[in-house]
Every structure is written in structure tokens, then in C-alpha cells.
């Protein structure tokens, strides 16, 4: 049994490693233009209302031998039954890893050095994470480029994504995992060594074209993601966050103090914002739900998640100098799509921001209406 699983994993690694890693080097600046063009044309295609997009395997659907965890492609009966058994084994294994991941997210204390890479740019960061009085304290400091530092208190653990008390722990329970598995297919990819530690590679492959894929390498011992990559619907790696060094010894209080004088602090200990919005989003990709609604001085902000991916909708009354803008901005894996809307003669700016495909942002933006 184990042998069979191994063999399958190898096949999977063989045909998918190409996808995951060979795509990194081409993230050259010179290609940005062409990529954007390509994205544009894709967007146009997706936007055609008469062409429903049905693509359960958008990332590497063409790769021969890519065997989906829950969709065995065997022909003979005996093969099929053995595949089904394997599937169950794999599913269990994936679920165990996801549970471990969620646990690490909530309980683990660590510090380390991280590389953060997108669009051909590499930055280095120092990260520290600890739990103090039941609340998470996290510090991020850029070691390259302009000095930037952020300290976050609290986890927003009161924000609920359905069954789960803490959205960050969505993957902890079976219900949460089922939710997420409706939108993503989880595939065990094998193992790799990162930051001098053994890790297990898991791919979350979107079941439709409305969200990005995620490839994470979880620390075998703790379940902490040592590496995570966001993958576009075209199979390009948009962003990579990877540990260089990880220290799991208990974090000292002094390590949570700001290093720079201008560090920014955010506090989420007061719980989740659940105010009502006057806006309604009429189209959401399958599985996305509203997680938090927050009033802003000039409008509303609504956060949506499918358990892995997150996007935020801003509806604001901005100054006249911003009223005419319509279009998108991209930073790494994050897209911001701006649109205008007029309600009873009053112009509003809709901005959809998130780690989602352009087409999704655009479609969500165009689906916003006033309630009632």
C-alpha cells in the first residue's frame, strides 16, 4: 500500500514539479508587460457571459498523469478500487497536515528569517510570533529596502467563518476543511527541505478559475508553512514566501519589541467588526462568504473569504480627483480593481482588493448594488 502511494506521489511530483518550480525563474521584469497583456486577454475571455468557465483543473489540466486526490482516473476495476483506497489514505494524510497547519497557526511560537519574492523582486524579512495572554503577537520587519516594521496584537479570532470560532483555525475541524475542500482540491506533492528542515508539500488547487492556487510546504515537525506560493490560474507563481532560518525556541518579550522608531502597530484584540453594510455583493465565487464588515470614515469595507483566499470590497465616497479612475493595480499577488458606481446621483468608488484573479475582482466589483 505504502509503495503504491509512493509511486503515485512520484508521478505527481514528476509532472507537477515542473509547474511549481520551473515557473519561478521566468518572473523577469521584462516579461511583466507581456503577462499583463496575456492576463488582459484572459480577462476578456472570462468576462464573456455566454462562455461558462468549467475547468476543475485549471493549473495543470494538461499535464498527463496528474491524478487528482478525489478523482481517480483508473480504467480497470481492480485499479479503480486500489486508487480509491489510496485516495482515502491521501485524503486522511492531507487532512492531518491541514489540521497540523491550523494548530501551528494558533499555538506555535517562532522567530525566523524569511524571503519574500514577487515579480522578480526579492525582499528579506525578520518575523517573530508569540502568544501572550492568549493573544497572538506578531512582528514583521523588512531587512531590505526601506525600513518597515509592523507589530500586530490579537488575532481577530472572533471573526467567524461558519462553524469555526476562529477563521484562522478554519482548517482545524472537519467542517471547516470540508468547506475549503469544496473550493480547492488538496494534493500531496511530496517533500522538500527548507530552512534546514524537512517539509511536506501540499497544493491547494482551485476547483474553478475564480481563485488562486496555493502551494505550501509544511514543517514535518510542527506543521508551520515554511514556504508558501500563490499560483495564478495560468500556473504562474505570483508570490513566494519562504523561510531561510527558523527558530522554534520560546520567544522572549524583548524580541516582540519594535526595532525601529516608526514601527506601525495594529490592534485586533477588540474582536471582529460585524456592522451592517448598505451594500450588497450580488456575485461571489462559490464558497466565499462575508467574514467582516467594517465602517470607514468615507465608506464601508467588507471582507470575504473561502477559507484560504481573502478579498476585500471597499465602497467609498472619495474626492473628485479619484472619481474618474477605473482600472486595476497589481502588486505581487494582490490585485486592486477600481470601478465607479452612481447611486441616486452620488458617485461611489468601488475597489476590490485581494489575492484573486483579475477577472474575479472585476466581476465582484461590477456586482455591487445598494441593499433593498
Amino acid at each position: 500500500m505504502v509503495n503504491i502511494v509512493m509511486r503515485e506521489s512520484l508521478i505527481r511530483i514528476g509532472c507537477t514539479l515542473f509547474l511549481a518550480f520551473s515557473l519561478l525563474p521566468p518572473l523577469l521584469l521584462a516579461q511583466e508587460l507581456d503577462d499583463t497583456d496575456a492576463n488582459d486577454s484572459t480577462t476578456v475571455k472570462l468576462e464573456r457571459p455566454s462562455a461558462p468557465v468549467v475547468s476543475p483543473l485549471p493549473v495543470d489540466a494538461n499535464a498527463p498523469g496528474a491524478i487528482a486526490v478525489d478523482a481517480p482516473t483508473a480504467t480497470s476495476n481492480s485499479q479503480a478500487s486500489s486508487d480509491l483506497t489510496n485516495t482515502r489514505v491521501l485524503n486522511n494524510e492531507v487532512e492531518q497536515w491541514l489540521g497540523k497547519l491550523a494548530q501551528a497557526m494558533n499555538e506555535l511560537e517562532y522567530s525566523g528569517l524569511v524571503t519574500f519574492e514577487h515579480a522578480g523582486l526579492l525582499e528579506t524579512l525578520q518575523v517573530v510570533r508569540a502568544v501572550r495572554g492568549g493573544e497572538q503577537v506578531e512582528r514583521v520587519r523588512y531587512l531590505s529596502g526601506a525600513p518597515r516594521e509592523l507589530i500586530s496584537y490579537g488575532s481577530g479570532g472572533h471573526c467567524a467563518y461558519d462553524a469555526s470560532p476562529s477563521i484562522r483555525a478554519t482548517l482545524l475541524n472537519a467542517a471547516g476543511q470540508q468547506q475549503v475542500q469544496r473550493a480547492y482540491q488538496f494534493i500531496l506533492r511530496g517533500k522538500e527541505r527548507i530552512a534546514d528542515r524537512e517539509s511536506v508539500v501540499i497544493e491547494a488547487r482551485p476547483r474553478d478559475r475564480y481563485r488562486l492556487g496555493l502551494v505550501v510546504s509544511l514543517d514535518r515537525e510542527t506543521g508551520l508553512p515554511l514556504k508558501s506560493m500563490l499560483v495564478s490560474t495560468q500556473g504562474r507563481v505570483l508570490e513566494r514566501y519562504q523561510f531561510v532560518q527558523l527558530d522554534l525556541s520560546p520567544v522572549k518579550d524583548s524580541a516582540l519589541q519594535a526595532v525601529s522608531s516608526h514601527a506601525r502597530r495594529i490592534d485586533n484584540r477588540n474582536g471582529c467588526d460585524t456592522s451592517q453594510s448598505r451594500w450588497q455583493v450580488r456575485w461571489l465565487p462559490e464558497g466565499f462568504r462575508v467574514v467582516s464588515v467594517k465602517p470607514l470614515p468615507d465608506g464601508d469595507m467588507m471582507v470575504f473569504s473561502d477559507g484560504l483566499g481573502v478579498f476585500t470590497v471597499f465602497v467609498q465616497r472619495l474626492g473628485p480627483e479619484l472619481e474618474d479612475f477605473k482600472g486595476r493595480a497589481i502588486r505581487g499577488a494582490t490585485v486592486a480593481y477600481m470601478d465607479r458606481m452612481e447611486v441616486k446621483g452620488v458617485p461611489y468608488t468601488v475597489t476590490v482588493v485581494g489575492e484573486i484573479p483579475d477577472a474575479t475582482a472585476r466581476r465582484v466589483a461590477s456586482s455591487i448594488v445598494e441593499k433593498g
Binding site: 468576462e47 523582486l121 514583521v140 473569504s305 471597499f314 493595480a329 505581487g332
Partner: protein, 234 residues
Amino acid sequence: MSHGNHQERLNESLSALMDGEVDELELQRILRATAASGDLSACWSRYQLAASVIRREQVASVDSDLSASISSAIALEAPLSQTTGDGRITATLGLANHRWWRSLSHGAVAATVAFAAILGVQQITGIQQNTVEAVPQLAKTERPAQPVVQSAPQPSGFYVPAPSTRSVSTAVPRFVPEQRSGAVGQAVIQQAPTPELMRHLNRVMIQHSEQAAHIGSQGMVPFARATYGEQVGM
């Protein structure tokens, strides 16, 4: 005049070559022309030199004489991206303009990415705008809008995606609604983003990332994103 057009076409091809966008046939044509014309190879050198300067690459022993010659080299190329003296613009020139700017924008992309890497905002100011007004506006915003700044948190100029079509349009570029930006023979005119726009985008991206940090299963990655575009003293 026909010679001039020919030269412009070659320059345009050269520019395309800089972008790595020429096909086999065009490459052959350029190679033949370069062999025959000293002007063209000199032009190629200038392009490369200008591109290096724009990318802030170390150009060997930059003394004042050389910088002067670089400046003059850039100045020499400048007419490519400007309208003709009488204010009209030919289709070929328009495309050359676009080409040259494109290779410029590669440098700009690098700068923008190194910066806060906000790329590709398009501003559509409406189709009804007079195209005659639009053209000088384009020329004006293209050139100075690409400051080269390394790794600073304030986003610099926006990189603006250029139309992918290479067909020579018979008309001047027009404003088109965004939905049709992919259409053949049409160009979307975009402007450099205003500081207000950059602030807005930075703000929403940071606010989004901060929320996402507490929601998704991505651990501290969103914090890295949230802090990335942050400006000192914001």
C-alpha cells in the same frame, strides 16, 4: 520622406528588439540593415546605453564626458516620442513613439517593482475626449512619468500595460472603454497615476492585508504584504 519613414521603421524594429519582441524575419532585416548602416548600429548602442542608464546600471567609468554623451544620446532619441513639429502625428511615428516608450517603461517597471510594485493602473478618462488634445497629453505624461527610484516605499510611476497588438493603426490612438482594450487596432491611452490614486491604492491594499492576516490560513504572509508598500511615517 520615404527614407525617413524607412529609418523610423528600422528604429521601431530596433526598439522592438530591445523588448525582445521581434520575430525571425524582422531580426534578419535588422541584422542586414545594421551591417549596411553605421547609423543604425550607433542607434542600437544608444538604445542600450540609455536603457542601462534608465535601469541605473553601472556604465563603465562614468565621467562627465560620458554622462554628457549619454544625455545627448537620450536627447537624440527624444524626438521619437514626440509629435511632429506641426502638431500632427503619423501612424508610424505614433507606433515608434509607443515602442520607444515601451522600452523606457521596462526600466520603469523595474523601478516600480523595486518600489512598492503597484503596477498597471489604467485610467480611462472617457471616450468623448478630443483625440487631438489627447495626443500631446500622452506624450507629456509618458516621458517624465518614469522616475527611477530604488526600493523606496512610495510607489513611483505606474507601469501602464501597452496594447499587445503590433498592427499599424491608421488613426491616432483613441480612448476606448476598458472592456474593449484588447480589440485589434485600438490603443488605450493611459495616464500616470496621481498621488491621490497611489495613496488610495496603497491604503486599501494595506487595510485588506491586515484583515487577511487574521482570516486566511496564510500565517504571517499578509503582514509581509501589508508592510511591503507601507510608507515611512504613514
